[in-house]
Structure formats: C-alpha cells, structure tokens
C-alpha cells in the first residue's frame, strides 16, 4: 500500500516519545535477554521491565500458574533481585541494545516508592517510569495502593517528589475498584504524567481434584484475552474523564485487532503480556498487524486513532 510509507506510527506518553506503540508488559519480558533470542528488541516501542522492588524478593511459592479459558492466573509475587542489582546488571545490557526502556517499580510502603524514585533519578537512558501500585500478588491486599484514592495519591506523590527532572511517571492501576476514573484523577492530580491500564484482575481457581485453591498463594492475577473487555472498558472510562492524559493500554492483547480496540478506546500505546508466553514473537506480529489495520482504515497516524471510539455519533 503506497500510503503505508508515510504512515506515522510514533506515539508519546507524557514527555517521552516512542517510535511505535507496541511495548512489552511489565513482568512479561524477563530481563530482555530471553526475548532477544527471538527478535531485535529495537523493534519494540519500548521494553517495560519487571516491577522492581527495593530489596531482593523470592516471590511466592509454587504452584504459581493456572491456565483458564482464554487466560491464565499468575501468582509470582514480584520475584526479583532488588533495585541495586537490577540497576547494576539489567539496565546496562538493555541500554546497549538500543531499545527504549520503561522501568517499572513496586513498593510495599510509600517510603519504598520514595526510595525507588531516588534510585532512579540519576539513571540515564530511561524513557519513563512505570509506578506499579496495583500488583494483586502481595500477601496483604491492603498493599494494593491503587485500590484506595488516598494511598494511590500518596504513592504517586512520593515518586513525584523524589524523581526530579523530566522523567515521565506512568501510574499503573487496577480495574478491581468501583470507579477507576476516580483513582485515575487522584494519581494525575498527584503528579502522574500518564496511566497504565490495566493490571491483572484478582481471581482464583480451585482444583476440583484436591478441592483446594490451585495456587499456593490462593489468589492470582487473571490475564489474557479473557480480561480484554475489562481493559477496553477501563481505558474508555478513563479516557472519557481525562482525555488529555495519555494511556498505556494492556489486558489480553493478542493480535493487531485487539491492540486497535484498546487504541480506539483511548490508549496511546499497548503493552503485550500473556500473548508473549504463547508466542515469543507476538509483539512483532501485533505491531505489523496493527499498522496494517490503521492504514486500511484510512488513518495517517496512530495519534489520529487514539480514542476514536469516543467521537460524536454524527461523525
């Protein structure tokens, strides 16, 4: 198609610009090395790292996984080496690859978020910071900052105060709330430049042979195509309330068609998570499929399609 050459696939989240809107999802790209065996990481709009915490963390015991219809539960519990080892080992390698990097951080307390933001402040070569305030796999659900407007605000404020400079903050929210647009307003007021929607949905599987919860942690986060309509709804609601706040959309995107759905709802970029587990090159396939679909529908740029489902009925 002749017009494809001039198609503008670039996108932005806050002040950060990206070549294309296809990102990995936090916790779904390993260290980057594992996926680099299957494709050139520079093909990605950005690589979003696993959420990193202040200290090393073993994560939860096994079983950590249960496949469900069109989805899966995970109960990893933020296993990771801690911020210092991560900055020493993972970040230099990723920087060498020339891929745009979004670092995801997660804390157990407001102070943790402040510490992580201070650690990140002086790190060069990072495009944005994803602040995960919505991981469902923690011992105490009270730790899910994004379930409550006050704690969500406090965590984001702590990052804003300590990050300094221009590094955009993307607040990652959970759909497990009564009104996600209210939480979105809070974190934007607290200093978030963009939003990541949605984290996994709290869920459970019971093994009917053992007649106990299948996962060692009992509950897990549901991901995959099963949650895509929830993601579309959440993105649509938040974009309607805050049309000027950029959204990194995610939740069950497995094809270019799915990515387009999130873009039309209001996402400026989409993260690919569970689809990568089933298809190591999913990001590249989805990137190509989405571009073809946008061109086919007559868009000249990705940006024109963002939130297009919100247009007046007469348009």
């Amino acid at each position: 198609m002749g017009c494809k050459l001039s198609f503008d696939y670039a996108t932005a989240l806050g002040s950060a610009n990206f070549n294309n809107p296809i990102f990995t999802a936090s916790g779904c790209a390993g260290s980057g090395k594992e996926l680099s065996q299957f494709f050139d990481l520079r093909e990605l709009g950005a690589l979003v790292t696993k959420s990193i915490m202040v200290k090393p963390r073993s994560g939860r015991p096994t079983p950590r996984m249960a496949e469900t219809p069109s989805g899966m539960l995970n109960s990893i519990g933020l296993q990771g080496p801690g911020i210092d080892t991560f900055l020493e080992n993972d970040i230099p390698w990723l920087r060498e690859q020339g891929v745009a990097i979004v670092v995801s951080i997660a804390g157990e307390s407001v102070e943790d978020y402040a510490v992580l933001a201070r650690k990140m402040r002086a790190v060069p070569g990072i495009s944005a910071l994803e602040v995960n305030i919505s991981c469902p796999n923690v011992e105490n659900r009270g730790q899910v900052f994004a379930c409550n407007p006050e704690t969500a605000r406090a965590a984001i404020e702590a990052v804003r105060r300590n990050i300094g400079g221009e590094l955009p903050i993307i607040a990652k929210l959970t759909p497990d709330v009564t009104n996600i647009a209210d939480i979105a307003e809070e974190v934007v007021a607290a200093g978030a430049d963009a939003l990541a929607l949605i984290n996994t949905v709290l869920a459970m599987v019971i093994d009917t042979n053992t007649m106990r919860p299948k996962l060692a942690g009992f509950t897990g986060g549901l991901s995959g195509p099963a949650i895509r309509p929830i993601a579309v709804r959440a993105i649509y609601q938040v974009h309607a309330r805050l049309p000027h706040v950029k959204i990194l959309g995610m939740g069950g995107v497995a094809s270019g068609r799915d990515a387009l759905e999130l873009i039309l709802a209001g996402a400026s970029a989409t993260s690919i998570g569970t689809a990568t587990f089933g298809d190591p090159t999913a990001c590249i396939r989805i990137k190509e499929e989405l571009e073809a679909l946008l061109v086919e529908r007559g868009f000249n740029s990705l940006k024109e399609a963002v939130g297009y489902a919100h247009r007046e009925a007469t348009q």
Partner: protein, 282 residues
Amino acid sequence: MNKFAEQITSEIISNKKVGAYHHMVFSVGDIAKHAKPGNFVAISIGGATSSMVLRRAFAIYRASDRGLSGGFVELVIAPHGPGSIWLTSLAPGATINLVGPLGTAFGIPTEPVKALLVGGGYGSAPLFGLSEILKSRGCRVDMVLGASSAMKIYAPLEGKRSVSSLTITTDDGSVGTPGKVSDVIPNLIANNGIEIIYSCGPMGMLEAITKIAEEFGVMHQCAIEESMACGIGVCMTCVLPIKGEDGVIRMLRSCIDGPVVDGSSVIWNSKRKIPEGTWGAN
C-alpha cells in the same frame, strides 16, 4: 541461554499410538541439529481460535537432522489434558507452531563411565537418545523404567537394544518388578558400579533418587517438571528452589535454568512453601 531456539511452523510427519502414549514425529529443520537430550520443545495448542493460550512443553524423545524432508524431532505424548488430547488427535500433514530447542541438556561425561538411566512414565522419553550418545562415548548404560502399570511403560524395542540391562517396575506389578524404581536402584548401583544417574519423571521419584544418589555418593542429573506458562524464561511461573555453588538458595526457572539440574542442588518437597533462607524470602 536457548542460543539455538527458533519459532517455526512444523508439519506432523507421523502419529502412532504406543500403549498409553502417542509417538509423534515433527518436521523441524535446523532445530533437530541443535537439540540435545534433556532439551524440550513448546507447542501451541488448539489452533488459531483456541481458548488455550499457553504452549505445552514436551521433552524431546529423539532428534535427527537426516530425515527425508530435513530435520525432525520425535515426542512421546501422554494425552491426559485438553491440550495434549488435541495435539495427539492431529493427523500427519497437519501443521503446528513449535518453539525449540529449549532448556538445559544432560551433561555428557568426557570419560567413559557407568551410567544408570531412570525414567518414570513418559519421563523415559529423553533417556533413549541420551543412552545412544553415552554408548557412543563408550559408557556402560543400565536403565530402569517405572510406571503405575504396564500400559504406561514407554520402552520401544530399539531403546531396549541400546542398553546393557533394562529393569522395569510397576506399581501394580502388571509387568516387571512390583514397586517403585527407587526399590531397585540401590542394587543396580552396587552391582554395576554406577557412577552417575540420569533421571526424568515425576518430582517425587526424582527426590527419592536424589536421596539414594547421595547415600551411594554418585552424581545425579535430573530433568525436573514444574507447570510452565512460557517455556522461554520470561514468565517466572515454573520456579524451583535450587542451591547454588555459593550456597544460596534461589527460585530458579525450570524452563531455562533447567529442566536438567543437579539433583543434589534442588530443595525438594517445596511445593506451597518458600524454603527458609531462600534469597529474598519475605
């Protein structure tokens, strides 16, 4: 780290029912050339509109890069869930999406040694290719295969010929010695001067063999099994507590840090708990 792994469309060359299992052959091109005993492949299940979003992992039974249409791998598949039932229902000529070769392989000794290969159920699959390699290096190879019943013993004729002795055990005594593989291993070690054990099968069996190996002071490499989502090292679901050479226990991925590990490094029986002292335990 999965240096030779590729994602390919693979054609099914043959599919034969053998006892409780299916022996299936897949055309895989160069993957065969790089596949080593212990490696596995991960196959997409259910076709393009499948509601099963995760791949299924299968240990490679044998691989050859000299097929009529290039390289092929052979798998032994137990149709016990919706995914494996779908896969084993496919006819030759059908195509599937396959990623491989993945994971670590059994270490091959540089000197000829006396090796005991122990397989449980379809876990015996990777041991036949391993046996051929060990024999070609001048090793003596004895084999023990165990299962719940005769139907679940996977012991093809050519496999039997490639070992010095084959002992079979079944829980119900329907073939071979009644009991578990662990009942017959001590005598085999003592009588045949075994220096290394290679094993593959259920975790309980691997744990029992680890204990015996430690008692007799022989090395033990085992292929572990934990439910996986991705098979390529990115999802962190298939972890297992493993003690490193530095003495530190870490939650390692059985797909990429395994499946073949040193049995003595595994903290066994750790389902549903993180062993005390594990790095980052909280």
